[in-house]
Structures are given as structure tokens and as C-alpha cells.
Amino acid sequence: MKLQELTKPWAAFNYGFLDESAKRELRRRILKAIAIPGCQVPYASREVPMARGWGTGGLQVTLTLLKPASVVKVIDQGADDSVNASSIRKFFGRVGGVVETEDTGKATIVQSRHRIPEEKLREDQVLVLQVPNPEPLRPVQPDISIARDMHGDADYGQLWLVLYEQLVKSGRIMQGAEYPSLVNGRYVITPSPIPRWDVPKLNQADHLTILSAGREKRLYAVPPYTKVEPLVFDDVPYRVEDHHDKTCYRSNVTGYFVNELPQEDGSSAYELSDSHFGIKHIRKAEGEPVEIGDTWYKNGRMTDDRA
């Protein structure tokens, strides 16, 4: 017997970049996170060829889920074409041999930073959110051990206290992104820095959402058809950003989350934050055969048929 027969042939890297034991650990952690919706599960965050804080958490989860038939979309602040988004997407193509896409409807895995696409995700799609800070209690409790006890006791009064103080000082809730939300009536999560606009999209969604923080080495999940409730007072309803009447100057579409672009004359123009969603509308207007999927928001309002 020769040594060569006992070892694998040399390769530059494993399929999907991560070694198999790393993927196995991550899969187990993901299963646990799905089993306990909203519960932060620690994992051994590996080194990847990207700096911490640039989406290494999401990257590791996506690498674990990759298979050659996967179709992957990567979003950064709604855009597919930022340096970070395209670098990550190309990386998946190289180490996983997957199909790269910008079309939400065609993707099997959507890795995202700061946005959830406007088109509804389906049961066969997985959303991976990159999380800088997974701990909703950090603003009120810097000690992780005590914060874990507080999660154990569902001791979330102080999160409401933060909202109370915002109402007292500003007359309205000032929490723009990372809006703390109760998952399945048990654990409060931070849904990563998505805008308030996107939080209701997690509630009773058809798709699976996995949220992963590479620097903080923790991941958590919102399984399909799970209740996600933003923390609110009985008498102060949850409000999303006032974008329902804004029209995208490029695609002429109204009623979705937009970026505000300051103009020379002091006025503002608006463009769709979900860039490929806008591109699809433009192409359709130009007569191309484009299929635009069902959207969560219709006429600028969340369709709340599942709540």
C-alpha cells in the first residue's frame, strides 16, 4: 500500500472553500438555530479571505449551503454591483462553481447586507443576512454573560425602556435600523441593520432566514412561517419609513424603499434601493420579456394577510 492511496489528491482548496469539518459544524449550528428560532448559537467562525466586518459571517453560512446547482445573489445595501457584493458573488462562483445572478426570483441563496429584496422570497429560497452585532441587549447590557441570563429569563424590559426614552426625548421611536424584534414569542433578536421597512418581511415569511455574525461568532435563524414582532407599545404602533409615496426617478416606480439623492438645486431625487428590482422595471418598460415577482409591499403598503 502506498501513501498516495491513503490520501486525497492535492487540491488548492476544498469545494466551497471551507473544510468539511467546518461546514459540518456550521450545519449543526444552523440546524440548532432553526430549531430554536431567534436563539443566538455560538460557532467557531473560520478565517476566510476577507476582513472581519465585511460579511464573513454571512459568507461562511453561504459557503456551507453551496452546491454546484446553487444560484447565488449577493446584495450590499440593496445593490448587486458594489465592490463588496460583486467580490463575494464572484468568490462563490470560483470556489463553488455556482451560477451567479442578480435576479431575486432566480436565486436559491440570497446573501444580503442591510436589505431584504422587495420581491417576495419563496419556500425554496434561503436569505442569509450579514450581522455586525447580533446582541439586541448590548445597548443596555454590555456584559455578555448577564445578557445571556436575560435572554434565558426573557428579561427584555430594558429594550422597551430604550424605546420609552426615545418617545420621551423625541416624541417618536428613533430606532432606524436593527429594530429589536421578538421571534416566535420567545427570543428578541436584532434583525441586522435592515431598515424598519424590511422587518415585517420576516414575519410569517415563506423563506428561511439565517443571520450570522462572523466577528461575534454567533448565528441565529428565523424559520419559515414564524412570527416576528417588532417591539412596540400597545398605544404606539410600529411605523415603517415614509416611502410609500416616493417615486424612483430612473424606473418611475412608486411605493418601495428608496435612496434619497441630493440634487444641485437643493431638491431631492429618489431611486429604488433594491437596484435590480428597478432594472427589471426599466427593462420591462422597454419591452423586454422580464418576469417581476410578487412583492411584500403593494401600493406602498405592507400586505398584511398573514399576521
Binding site: 441570563d149 434565558g152 429569563d153 428579561d155 424590559g157 430594558q158 422597551w160 425602556l161 420609552y164 426614552e165 418617545l167 420621551v168 426625548k169 412596540v232 407599545f233 400597545d234 398605544d235 404606539v236
Partner: protein, 275 residues
């Protein structure tokens, strides 16, 4: 005058026949606690009756604050039992409760005012928010109601409610104690624990805070346990007094009896030192 030997045995505890005109609301039995070689509490019994103020007096290291921490379920003794009579309660040793049960019991039924406001208050939150937090833990989720109840509670503590949204850092020591008090009474606790509530305040401010406490006690008949090394404070507030020394109760009785006719050498020394 020769040096006084105050190390005489405690005044024997009497077990008189009871008329049973009142049932206790709090009962502690045989509380012992050692920290390493130091015996902080050597088998202390405490009984508190509804609507009364029990004063616990003793010098630093007498174990009085440790005992109060036990009452607040912040600490567990080596031996001993603790029972509070609460609506719908079960007769069980509260030291057997787990962390979560203790937290809920504290949130709903025990109020505490610490000497150090940093222990009792979130210093970077508003005063009204500090009071609201207690209501939030108890599950109140209505903003207008939280605000109104915080205002009422602060007003009852004679805190100037126009300043209810100032942070404790911006307030004087006396006002911080009033915020603590408002927080402690927000849920109408079964018992209000006061750990040297006026120590460290100016004498005039101290008098005002005690005045508020007395007024609250009179208007709401709140059951209080007051720990202080200051006999004047105990004399002003307490109905009954327990005198502690080195982890033991040396003497207890009606407040006027303790002050007018102290039995134990140590109590006599304390009382005479004050006069």
C-alpha cells in the same frame, strides 16, 4: 467609668403566648451566612407584620445589610428559611426559588431603596424611565399608562414631576433617593426594604426624605424594613426595633421600649451614645 463589657449574651428571646391579633407578612428563620471564616449572620429570626416599620440597627459589620440582601433575595444564606405572604402564594422557602422566580418575585412584590443610588438606578436613563422599567418588567406595555403611573409614583415620593425626564446624574442626592423610592413603590410592593436610605445626605435633606417615607407609610400603610446605623433615623421611623451585633440579634422590642428601657448592655451603650 470602666470600660463596658458589651459582649454579654443576647437578651433571651421570649416566646410569649400570642393573642394572634396579626399574622406576619414576612418570616425568616435561622438565617446563617459565613463569608470564608467570617460569620456574617449567626442564626437570625425575623418576623414582620403587615403595615409596620421594622427598624434594624447595628454598626458596620453587624450583618444588618447582609440580612436585607437576603430579604431582597440577592443572596442565599447557608441555612435558613424565608417566607412572604403574598396573594395566591404557596407556602415555600423563597431561598429555593431559581433566578427567574426570584426576579419575578422581586419585580412584583419587593421594593428596595439602596444607600447608593447607582445600585438602584440606571443613571443614564431618565428618572421616569427608571420608574417605568419596573412596570415594564411586570409586563406593562402601554406608553401613556407607563408615563402616567411613573408620574404618579414620583409625585407620591414628592419628586418634582416637571423634572421627571431628567437623568439621575442631573439630580441631587436627595432627589435620587426619591426616584429610587418612586421605583420601589411603583408596583405597591408587599414589603419595602430601605438600606440606609438617608445615609450620606445633608441633615436637612435627610429630614425631608424621612418625612416623605413617614407620610407614605401613614397614607398607604406600606410594610417597611429599615436598616440603619443611625439611631435617630430608626427612632423617627420604626414601630419595632431589632438591635444587631456581630451577626446576632442582641435585643428586639417595641421602638419606645428599646429607646426608653434598653435591656442589653450594647443597646444601652448605643442609646446613651446617641443622647
Amino acid at each position: 467609668m470602666t470600660a463596658l463589657n458589651v459582649d454579654t449574651p443576647a437578651v433571651p428571646k421570649r416566646q410569649p403566648p400570642r393573642l394572634m391579633l396579626a399574622e406576619p407578612i414576612m418570616t425568616m428563620r435561622g438565617i446563617s451566612k459565613s463569608f470564608g471564616d467570617v460569620k456574617a449572620l449567626g442564626g437570625v429570626d425575623v418576623t414582620v407584620y403587615p403595615g409596620e416599620v421594622l427598624g434594624i440597627v447595628g454598626e458596620s459589620g453587624s450583618g444588618k445589610s447582609t440580612l436585607l440582601r437576603m430579604m431582597n433575595l440577592e443572596d442565599t444564606p447557608d441555612t435558613g428559611s424565608y417566607n412572604l405572604v403574598l396573594p395566591g402564594h404557596q407556602d415555600r422557602n423563597l431561598f429555593d426559588l431559581d433566578r427567574f422566580e426570584r426576579r419575578m418575585l422581586r419585580a412584583h412584590h419587593i421594593g428596595i431603596v439602596y444607600q447608593n443610588p447607582h445600585l438602584g438606578l440606571l443613571m443614564n436613563h431618565t428618572s421616569s424611565g427608571n420608574v417605568a422599567e419596573r412596570l415594564l418588567i411586570a409586563g406593562n406595555r402601554n406608553f401613556a399608562e407607563l408615563r402616567e403611573r411613573a408620574r404618579q409614583s414620583l409625585a407620591a415620593s414628592e419628586f418634582p414631576t416637571e423634572r421627571m425626564d431628567a437623568t439621575p446624574c442631573e439630580l441631587s442626592g436627595g432627589m435620587q433617593q426619591r426616584v429610587q423610592l418612586a421605583k420601589a413603590i411603583a408596583l405597591e410592593p408587599a414589603v419595602l426594604l430601605l438600606d440606609e436610605p438617608t445615609t450620606g445626605l445633608d441633615v436637612s435633606v435627610q429630614a425631608l426624605v424621612l418625612d416623605t417615607l413617614k407620610r407614605l407609610q401613614r397614607d398607604r400603610a406600606i410594610t417597611m424594613v429599615l436598616v440603619s446605623h443611625d439611631l435617630g433615623v430608626i427612632r423617627t421611623m420604626a414601630d419595632r426595633v431589632m438591635v444587631m451585633r456581630r451577626g446576632l440579634v442582641v435585643e428586639q422590642g417595641l421602638a419606645d421600649q428599646i429607646f426608653q428601657d434598653p435591656q442589653h448592655a450594647y443597646t444601652q451603650q448605643l442609646v446613651h451614645a446617641e443622647l
